[in-house]
């Protein structure tokens, strides 16, 4: 029989989905800004592997010559990005949901087992609650990254007034590089995230919109079923 199992509270679902367009707009407007001085490359031992970004990408997205517009959009949506993040973090702390999110002392060891399992190298995944060990690390890291974007962003925005933030980031020049690297990090996170969501399937995806997962349980001893039902009512 089917059982409804609560998974994601409403506020966590909404801050998650609200963040998606906000971050998209922040990355897009950031690209409008970056175009004006696109000097960053990824170079190792004198060999340049990546130059950000190919002209084709700029042309396809109509990026060139829109610096002023990019700044104007960026400096509006920065407020939404910060407030949405603040909402998510404070809710996670106050509700106690952080216990399901923050890596614990087993997570770093277990995360490897999860990765091996996901790559079909290992058959069994370690037991988990709401998030597995790899998810705990990834989803906590992305929050830390968001905080990093906020700090580096403020350091770039007002490097004289917030000179202590610029100092923390290693100066204005480095703050800008961190800010850029974090953005590349979001894009990479997004790619892995979407692949994992597709692989995890409908039940998992629905839980981020409806809040619950449906578990198909074979009839169990009566006590077990009663337990589940009371859980359901109190949740």
């Amino acid at each position: 029989m089917k059982i409804i199992k609560e998974k994601h509270p409403l506020l966590m679902r909404w801050t998650h989905w609200v963040n998606f367009p906000i971050l998209t707009i922040m990355i897009w407007s950031g690209l409008l800004i970056y175009w004006a001085n696109d000097t960053y490359t990824f170079t190792l031992f004198g060999v340049t592997f990546i130059r950000f970004f190919p002209q084709g990408l700029y042309d396809a997205l109509h990026i060139p010559r829109r610096l002023a517009e990019g700044m104007a959009f960026h400096f509006l949506f920065m407020w939404f990005f910060a407030l949405n993040g603040l909402l998510y973090v404070s809710y996670t702390i106050i509700s106690g949901q952080w216990r399901e999110l923050v890596p614990n002392r087993h997570s770093f060891k277990e995360a490897w087992l999860v990765v091996l399992h996901d790559l079909h190298i290992r058959k069994m995944a370690p037991p988990q609650n709401k998030y597995n060990a790899a998810q705990r690390i990834a989803y906590t890291a992305i929050i830390v990254m968001g905080f990093g974007s906020l700090i580096t962003g403020l350091a770039i925005y007002k490097p004289v007034q917030f000179n202590y933030l610029a100092w923390i980031c290693g100066g204005y020049h480095l703050a800008r590089i961190w800010h850029f690297v974090l953005t590349i990090g979001y894009v990479l996170f997004f790619l892995v995230h979407v692949v994992q969501v597709v692989l995890a399937g409908w039940n998992n995806f629905r839980s981020v919109i409806s809040g619950f997962e449906v578990i198909d349980k074979k009839p169990l001893p009566a006590i077990q079923i009663q337990n589940d039902e009371t859980n359901e009512k109190t949740e």
């Binding site: 029989m1 409403l10 367009p21 707009i25 610096l67 007002k158 490097p159 004289v160 007034q161 809040g211």
Partner: protein, 269 residues
Amino acid sequence: MKLTKKLSKVFSKNKGPKKELTVEQKISRRNFISFGSFLVLGGAAYGGWRWLYTSPNEVPGITGEAHKPLRAVLNANEKVVRQLYSNKNLVKTYPKEMAAKVVRHNSDIGSEGLIDVGNWKLSVKKQNGELLNIGIDEIKKLPKTEIVYDFKCVEGWDQISHWGGVKFSDFIAHFKLDAETRFEYVGMETPDKEYYVGVDMPSAMHPQTLLAYEVNEKPLPPKHGAPLRLIIPVKYGIKNLKRIGSITFSNSRPRDYWAEQGYDYYAGL
């Protein structure tokens, strides 16, 4: 969770006597509500974005070329950051050795070609209508201040550079322009009036704001704004006007070259 429960209560009221819903019914009800509100609010968000993205530009004036709502936000942001502004916050300075030997030059709007430095005069319009005409030698007699700092361009590049000149606040004191500092803005224009900036008074009076006549301990070359330029570390490069021709004071925003083209008027750092 609470909202969906409330909604499902409202729904069940309309259906007469209460019946315990089956799990299947609960699932489809909650899915309907969640996905329904997801689509409705998603659509609303998209509509809001289209509205913003296609919103008309502001009426051209002191500022121009920005979407009207975005300009309002830039101005609101200025109000917020001006609350945090203090002349005690200084730009980081560096040892001379770190200064770039080749100082980047981005634009020469208003400072093209050569200028006859001997004939150049800085005109300062005082509150009482009096016009001061000051030669470069007179300015060079004032106490000299040097600064080595990270110059920041709105495009995104930055460069440590070494400038020398007179502090704007020393210049004000020497020429007895204290009454003029009660105005809210300083306006500066090139002699040909092709390039012009407006700077709020607190930023102009910042202890690191210079009227510079030297770069790397040598007189400014024409492309860096000979004979006198503004070096204002609390602003992006766009406000660091080269080849100053005139200085005025006002309570309303003076015209500003890049603010007319969609950039933030304040452009503060």
